[in-house]
Amino acid sequence: MIENKPKPPIAGIIYGEIVYWGVLAGSLIVIVGSVLAFLGDNYVPVSYWISSIWKGETVLQTWSGATGALPNGHWYLSQLTTGDGLSAFGISLGVFSVAPALFLSSVALFREKEWLYGSLAMVGCIVVMIGVLGLAPMPK
């Protein structure tokens, strides 16, 4: 008997599609942010960022020279009209797409009564959100 190609589970498709399009949306924002960084306003001048990194300055030295202190948080959310802020937001959006993908995939698994794997996806989502919200203890 010839078996048919197995169908992918709906939870997998939901996860994959959200991540794929989230990354592409993030990429578009990064492109716009990069152009804006070279042609328009920036939170910190592009040449400063690149020169500081190029010189091998530490993260603390780079931020101290730019804004006086480390950002300790999602600094770009209040700088979305600037080139570097928008670029950071685009990258973050692409990375963040994993969280809603895990959440909605978990919901789909719960609807299919796959309680164990629905719960595992939800736990994965919670761990990602701990990272996103900066809840892990950091040095002061």
Partner: protein
């Protein structure tokens, strides 16, 4: 867009008999036609990729022509633009090589940058996670659609690997703050040794088996229902598989997540080996799942670097775009490049950067001057 499995398919196709001399002309024409067809199928099947490439090219031209960036004492305005464009091109090349070689891009980026540049190690590791993650993220959708990424396996291993990745990234910040240059030296030294192990894995092929058959299946794996099936194109039939050693696999994934988050690389070769050799997943399933798991773990670890300020967006942006474009392009256009050749190139890159990392690590950590390279 079956990134990793296409690498396997290529390595299989490289063992096909070479056509006779009289057939060479016809074969050449056929190859040309296939290449053309493949290009057009890429344009029509993945229009978003074409749009993305056009937008990136247009953006970089705009940035070069109408740049308002000012020169500094370190770099001229045109050098800044060249660094951005150069980073994009190198990132695209790394993603393509990584896809064909079946490893994460971070394994190439992070050791080279830590070994051969004076950039801050946290900035490199944060950007390394971007490099490691994005080609995996864009390949997630196609892997899920083709059922090569087993959702049960991904979500089961996803929990320990994300916990490990978060712990690894937080530890990296503590290590950096607490130990300074000595800590950076130790990071370089240990990463150098780790990369030699990766090079060894690539050299030996990690002892992988295409369709492993577990002799004993543990109770936990049965309870979790860790089994599945997928369509094997090369065999033209459905392959069923049963996984085992769920507990050991879970523990190993915590460690692998920690390594990825701490060093800012993916370590796809280790993930694939764990899934294939310990949990007994078929190679294609292991490779696809490792790409998806790599993306999940790095997407957790990178937030520590982002909120700390180690991910400098302007520097990381071209690396991200290169990974997205290279990740998709690599699977579709470079079918003719033999995986075996790429693996050799990767081994050389890894060994050279490992030696440099070990030397710099010893120099920085212990203050010993080694006048080599």
């Amino acid at each position: 867009m079956n990134l990793r499995s296409s690498a396997t398919a290529r390595s299989e196709s490289s063992t096909q008999p070479v056509p006779l001399a009289k057939d060479k002309k016809g074969a050449k024409k056929k190859r040309k036609r296939t290449r053309k067809n493949r290009f057009w199928s890429l344009v029509t099947n993945v229009p978003e990729l074409s749009i993305l490439i056009m937008l990136i090219v247009g953006a970089y031209i705009l940035m070069g022509v109408f740049s308002k960036v000012e020169s500094t004492e370190v770099l001229s305005a045109s050098s800044v633009w060249l660094i951005i464009v150069g980073s994009f091109l190198i990132s695209t090349a790394i993603a393509t090589l990584a896809v064909i070689g079946g490893i994460g891009g971070g394994v190439i980026f992070t050791p080279i940058m830590l070994g051969f540049t004076s950039l801050d190690s946290l900035v490199i590791r944060a950007t390394g996670l971007v490099v490691a993650m994005f080609s995996g993220l864009v390949s997630t959708g196609p892997f899920m659609k083709t059922k090569l990424a087993d959702i049960k396996l991904v979500f089961y291993c996803g929990v320990p690997i994300t916990v490990g990745a978060l712990a690894g990234s937080v530890s990296a910040i503590y290590f950096h703050e607490g130990l300074g240059e000595f800590g950076d030296g130790l990071v370089r030294l240990s990463l150098g040794i780790l990369m030699l192990v990766v090079a060894w894995f690539l050299f030996t092929g990690g002892g992988k088996t295409e369709y492993p058959e577990p002799k004993n299946i543990d109770k936990l794996s049965v309870m979790l229902g860790l089994n599945g099936s997928y369509w094997e194109e090369s065999l033209g039939k459905v392959v069923h598989y049963q996984l085992t050693r769920a507990l050991i696999g879970g523990i190993v994934f915590i460690a692998l997540g920690f390594i990825g988050g701490f060093f800012g690389l993916g370590g796809g070769a280790f993930l694939t080996a764990t899934l294939n050799l310990i949990m007994m997943a078929p190679v294609k399933i292991a490779a696809a799942c490792s790409g998806v798991l790599l993306a999940i773990s790095n997407a957790t670890a990178i937030w520590t670097y982002i909120t700390y300020g180690a991910m400098i967006a302007i520097f990381a942006a071209p690396w991200m775009l290169g990974q997205v474009v290279g990740g998709i392009l690599g699977a579709h256009l470079l079918i003719r490049i033999r995986a075996g050749f790429v693996r050799k190139v990767l081994i050389v890159i890894l060994v050279v950067s490992s030696i440099k990392l070990i030397i710099r690590g010893v120099e920085e950590a212990f203050g010993i001057n080694i006048p080599i390279i």
